[in-house]
C-alpha cells in the first residue's frame, strides 16, 4: 500500500452554508475536507460544486458510513461509490472513523463505540485491509468520541489505535476534541492518550466544539474550548507536519468566524513547535 507522506496545512470543512464563499473567491485555507457520503451520488449540483472547489484547493474525503468495526464486514456498494468518488476527485487522502454504524439488517447512521477487545481489533484490521485493498490507497482512521465503554474491554483506545495502524499500515486522524470528550466521559488522562499514540502515523488533526454536561457530547456546534486548545498545543508539540482543520457541522457561523479560529490554530501550532525547539 502506498505511503502517505506528511503534509502540513490548515483547512476547514466544506459545508453548504459556505459553498458561495468557496466558489466565488479565494478562501485563505490550504485544503477543505468534505463528508464523502454527501458526494457519493450519481450527479447533480453537489458533484459540480466539489469539482469546482477541487480545481482551487486540495480536498480530503472524510467518511461516516464505512463501518470499519462492523462484524458483518464492509458494504460493497458503499466502497464502490467511494472509490468512484476518490478516483474522480483525487483527494489528499480518504478517511473514516474507528467505529461501527450497522449490522447486516439495520443502519444507525451514528458512530457507535466498539468493544476494545482483541477480537474486535482483528475484525477492524481485516476490514481495513479489505478497504485499503479495494480503494488502492492507504486510509486514515479517526479516534471517536464515546459515551460508554464495555465491560469486556481489554485495552485502552490508544493501544487499539496503535496496534491497528501497525498491523494494517493505515494512518491516524487525531481528533483532539474527541480525546477530551472521551477522557471526561471515561475518566482517563488525555496526556496518557497522547503519549500512547504513534505520532509518526498521524497525518491529520481535527478540532471541534462540544457540549459540556454530566456526559460531555461531541456536538460540533460551538467554538473550540480552551481545554481542547491546551490539549491541541500538547499534541502539536509531538506531531510532525499534519493537516489541521476546524470541524463545524451545526450552528455553522459565517466563514470569517471559522477563519479566525483557524488562525488561532496556526498561532498555537507555531507556539507549540517553537516551545519544542526551545526546549
Amino acid at each position: 500500500m502506498n505511503a502517505i507522506a506528511p503534509w502540513g496545512g490548515f483547512g476547514l470543512g466544506l459545508r453548504r452554508d459556505h459553498y458561495h464563499d468557496f466558489l466565488s473567491g479565494n478562501v485563505a485555507v490550504d485544503f477543505v475536507e468534505v463528508i464523502s457520503e454527501n458526494f457519493m451520488v450519481d450527479g447533480g449540483r453537489p458533484l459540480r460544486v466539489l469539482e469546482q472547489v477541487r480545481a482551487k484547493l486540495p480536498v480530503i474525503l472524510h467518511g461516516v458510513s464505512m463501518s470499519i468495526g462492523s462484524a458483518h464486514g464492509l458494504d460493497r456498494e458503499h466502497l464502490t461509490k467511494l472509490k468512484t468518488l476518490a478516483d474522480r476527485i483525487e483527494p489528499l487522502w480518504v478517511s473514516d472513523h474507528l467505529c461501527w454504524t450497522r449490522t447486516s439488517a439495520h443502519n444507525s447512521h451514528d458512530l457507535l463505540p466498539l468493544p476494545l477487545t482483541r477480537g474486535a481489533l482483528g475484525v477492524v484490521c481485516d476490514n481495513i485491509d479489505r478497504a485499503q485493498e479495494f480503494l488502492g490507497r492507504a486510509m486514515l482512521f479517526e479516534n471517536p468520541s464515546s459515551y460508554l465503554t464495555f465491560p469486556e474491554d481489554e485495552m485502552p483506545e490508544w493501544e487499539f489505535l496503535a496496534e491497528m495502524s501497525l498491523r494494517t499500515g493505515c494512518y491516524l486522524l487525531l481528533d483532539v476534541n474527541n480525546i477530551h470528550v472521551s477522557a471526561c466521559n471515561h475518566g482517563f488522562e488525555a496526556a496518557d492518550y497522547l503519549a500512547g499514540i504513534p505520532a509518526d502515523r498521524v497525518r491529520q488533526v481535527h478540532l471541534a466544539g462540544h457540549t459540556p454536561g454530566e456526559i460531555v457530547i461531541d456536538t460540533h456546534d460551538a467554538p473550540v474550548c480552551d481545554a481542547v486548545w491546551d490539549l491541541y498545543a500538547k499534541a502539536m508539540s509531538m506531531l510532525g507536519d499534519v493537516a489541521v482543520m476546524i470541524e463545524r457541522d451545526d450552528a455553522i457561523p459565517p466563514l470569517p468566524e471559522l477563519l479566525t479560529e483557524l488562525a488561532r490554530a496556526r498561532i498555537s501550532t507555531s507556539a507549540a513547535l517553537g516551545t519544542e525547539k526551545a526546549a
Partner: protein
C-alpha cells in the same frame, strides 16, 4: 455468531427500541451513555427527514411531523449506507397516518421526488431536431416499438390537490395554507432542469401516458391506451402533441427501439 456480532446486534436492538432491556449488569453510567446514543439516533434521523420534507412539516405542524417521523423510523428503520434514503417510503407513511388529508402524502411525494432528482445522473435532453432526425425513417412497426428514455429523476404521480399553489404557500410564511382540490384529477410531473428540480401540473391523460413510459411501456402501448380513452381518430394527434411537449420541456433523453 462472533462475540462482536452478538454485541453489535444487542446494541442496535437497544438503540432502535427503548423497550429492549439493556445488557445485564450494565451500571448507571452505561445506561446514561446508551441514552445519549438513543437520543442521537432519533434526533439525527428526524432532522434528516425534516430537512427533506420541509414543506410537509409546515403543512402538518411540528408535533404531528415529529410523531410521523418517529413512526416512520419504527416501521422503516434505515438499512442502507446513506442517510439520504431515510425518507424512502415516507410519502406512504404520510398516506397511512394522514388518511383524511391526502394532500399531505402528495406534498411528501413531491418533496421526495425533488430530493431524488437533485442528485440523479446527469443527462442531456434530446432536442426536437435530433429526435426528428433519429425517427425520420421509422416504419410504423418501429414507432410501435419505440421506447423513450426520460431524463433521470423524472417522476409523475396522480394528484387531487393544487400542488402548485400549495407548494408556493408552504414556501412562504402565510399560514395556515388553504388546500384546494383540483377541479378534476390531474398529475404532477417532476424532472430536473439543469441542476434544479422543477415540477408542473399536467392533465390526467398526459400523466398516464408518462407513467406508462416510465414503467417501460412502448410508444405503441401508449397510443393504444389513448385510443381506448379518446378513440383511434384523435389518439395519434394527441400522442404527437404530447410527445412534442415532452421534447420541448427537455424530458426525453434518448430513443430506444428493439
Amino acid at each position: 455468531m462472533s462475540a462482536l456480532a452478538l454485541r453489535q446486534q444487542e446494541f442496535l436492538a437497544c438503540l432502535l427500541d427503548d423497550a429492549t432491556p439493556l445488557p445485564a449488569g450494565w451500571d448507571t453510567r452505561r445506561v446514561a451513555g446508551m441514552a445519549v446514543y438513543r437520543n442521537a439516533y432519533r434526533t439525527r434521523l428526524i432532522d434528516a427527514l425534516r430537512e427533506t420534507f420541509e414543506r410537509t412539516a409546515r403543512l402538518v405542524g411540528e408535533d404531528a411531523f415529529r410523531r410521523a417521523a418517529a413512526h416512520h423510523l419504527i416501521t422503516n428503520p434505515p438499512t442502507g449506507w446513506t442517510i439520504d434514503l431515510t425518507g424512502e417510503r415516507f410519502a406512504e407513511t404520510c398516506a397511512e397516518l394522514f388518511a383524511h388529508d391526502p394532500d399531505v402524502a402528495e406534498v411528501a411525494w413531491l418533496e421526495w421526488a425533488m430530493h431524488r432528482a437533485f442528485t440523479a445522473t446527469d443527462a442531456e435532453p434530446l432536442i426536437v431536431s435530433r429526435f426528428a432526425a433519429a425517427t425520420a425513417g421509422f416504419s410504423p412497426a418501429q414507432w410501435e416499438a419505440l421506447r423513450l428514455r426520460l431524463i433521470p429523476g423524472t417522476a409523475v404521480r396522480a394528484i387531487a390537490h393544487d400542488l402548485a399553489k400549495l407548494w408556493e404557500v408552504l414556501g412562504a410564511s402565510s399560514f395556515p395554507p388553504q388546500v384546494e382540490r383540483l377541479p378534476r384529477p390531474g398529475y404532477a410531473l417532476l424532472w430536473r432542469e439543469g441542476e434544479r428540480p422543477v415540477f408542473m401540473l399536467i392533465p390526467e391523460q398526459n400523466g398516464r401516458a408518462l407513467a406508462g413510459l416510465l414503467s417501460g411501456g412502448t410508444f405503441g402501448e401508449m397510443c393504444a391506451a389513448l385510443a381506448e380513452t379518446i378513440g383511434p381518430a384523435k389518439a395519434a394527434a394527441s400522442a404527437g402533441t404530447m410527445l412534442l411537449g415532452w421534447l420541448e420541456l427537455g424530458l426525453v433523453q434518448a430513443t430506444e427501439t428493439e
